[in-house]
Amino acid sequence: MIAGDRDALLLRGPRDAVVFRLGRRSAALAAITWLLAGCAAVLSLSLGRFDIETAGVLRVLGGGGTLIEYDVVVRNRLPRAATGLGAGAAFALSGAILQRIAANPLVSPDVIGVNSGAAFGALAVLTVFGGSGLHTVAGALAGAGATAAAIFALSAKRGLSGHRLVLVGIGVAAMLTSGVSFLLTRADYHGATAAAAWLTGSLANRGGLHAAIIAAALAAAVPALVVLARHVRLLELGDELAGVLSRHAGRARTALVAVAVGLAATATAAAGPIGFIALAAPQIVRRLLPGRGAAFAPTAAVGALLTVSADLAARMLFAPVELPVGAVTGVVGAPVLLYLLARANRIGHAG
């Protein structure tokens, strides 16, 4: 039985009316990485100014523990860990979708300016309109959507080219960065300090709202991806073959881009524009797995693990001073970006 590749595992319903295909290694990697991400999250619940041993954390999560323990773990640290897991997964999925359909690892929301667009939108709501909470989410979605539409419109020329997207995106991102600086000069001192921390990507002071935002985004995106994932395998064959093999290829691509932009925007609204997760997570998974599955599940897991570990490092390395998580992902992620740039330069393009 040839299922495209030996790695494929077919989940069959009665009489083959329903058949799903999974990569064996991809499923295994996803399970292991989610487990590790879960462990990192529990660790981040236990470490901090008040250390609570892991058993204590599990006891609190199970409904036991003292009132102080409950306050520290559930009120203070849990939203932060949950937002970190969710935002990491969302950034990673967004990067995986865009990189795959543009067949270029640099077409990632943090490189082509989608995150900057979301940040600009959210910041405009924060500083100009004085909104907060859900308003910033709306601002981030509007900013990211408008930015993505502008980038794709400017770089579209008889189909989609990864190269043009990267160049146009970097230009648009630079413009948005100036826009963000402008907004910061208009803000008062407290607003500017808070905005600056948020702009580096920060998980400090996350509340239930942030975790809920990202959970809602993932709850909408994951079912959409289950349906759309098989189109990714087609779109990366190029416009012509994809157009012949599916007469809805254009629509599927628009839907996938919308999902990717929505994920990046909500993750940015919840956690700030944390850099390099969207860029690095899909590349790490590609190097761990053979062949070319969609591999969305392990990519999301790697994104979650990276973000929570980076946040843990950001909190613990210079304790009691906390770094924003984006500073750590930047230090870890920049070499990945340099490596990809060097590689793309050498072979003209890099899938």
Partner: protein
């Protein structure tokens, strides 16, 4: 769940005009591609061959006229049935990094699958058949970038075969191949395994190979049909000189009786 076998399908264009932006590349072309035969389209660079092929595959919207599949306008055919019946292999398809031959070929089954039925025994059988017909069964687990140019082209043809279309359009499938592999690919495309009731349309550059492998030959110039018919009637010194501006003599191939074009020396 029976295996679908290609049925004789007639693809035709009536008064078809195609172009990009302000430029018209194909101008009111009417052609009928004979069912279950091999049609080869030739013509000088920029004459609109590839554009015509894209138009026939509904990758370009007609500016005028229509493309008919068994008499029905393909612009109105249901998307899925069109994707099952009409295949196109572009001139230089790009394979994703690191993909294996088997994975690539299996993607040709897309129009036969649904999101909730991502693989069936019919798919497996079609992929195996396509790999056997193109002789790439042994290469199944090899990454595409490790294959030679000829092997790679066979894998792409296997993808087009796995789709199992009634009409298969191929844009310059022999470009960048050495003469032995060119013949190899054309023998494969015109051989019984590949054809079995399929209508095949090829764009080629080599007039000798076009004359040898075509049942029906279409010569294009400046977006219009300059001549069409059986190769022995179409390939004449006058036509070649008029279309390609190439002074020549046409002789009969001693091996196959098909026409061969001998360019006249200029010095």
């Amino acid at each position: 769940m029976t295996s679908h076998s290609p049925s004789a399908a007639t693809l035709a264009a009536t008064g078809l005009s195609l172009g990009y932006r302000s430029q018209t590349v194909v101008d009111r072309v009417s052609v009928a591609l004979p069912p279950e035969q091999v049609t080869v389209i030739v013509g000088p660079n920029g004459c609109g061959k590839s554009t015509l092929l894209r138009g026939l595959a509904r990758l370009l919207k007609p500016r005028g006229g229509a493309v008919l599949l068994d008499g029905a306008d393909i612009a109105r055919l249901p998307a899925r049935s069109l994707a099952r019946r009409l295949g196109l292999l572009p001139q230089q398809p790009v394979a994703p990094d690191g993909i294996t031959a088997a994975d690539l070929i299996a993607r040709g089954r897309h129009p036969h699958q649904r999101w909730f039925r991502q693989f069936s025994d019919t798919d497996a059988a079609a992929v195996s058949r396509a790999m056997a017909a193109t002789g790439v069964t042994e290469l199944a687990e090899r990454p595409i970038e490790e294959l030679s140019g000829g092997q790679r082209q066979r894998v792409w043809i296997a993808l087009a075969l796995a789709q199992d279309p009634d009409v298969m359009l191929l844009d310059e499938p022999t470009t960048y191949l050495d003469p032995a592999h060119q013949v190899d690919v054309l023998e494969l495309l015109t051989g019984a395994d590949t054809r079995s009731g399929r209508t095949i349309v090829l764009v080629l550059h080599d007039l000798g190979l076009a004359g040898r492998y075509a049942d029906h030959l279409i010569v294009m110039k400046d977006g219009e049909i300059a001549a069409q018919g059986a190769p022995s009637q179409v390939v004449t010194a006058e036509t070649v000189e008029a279309v390609f501006s190439l002074p020549c003599r046409v002789i009969e191939d001693p091996l196959t009786g098909t026409p061969i074009v001998l360019p006249r020396p200029r010095r």
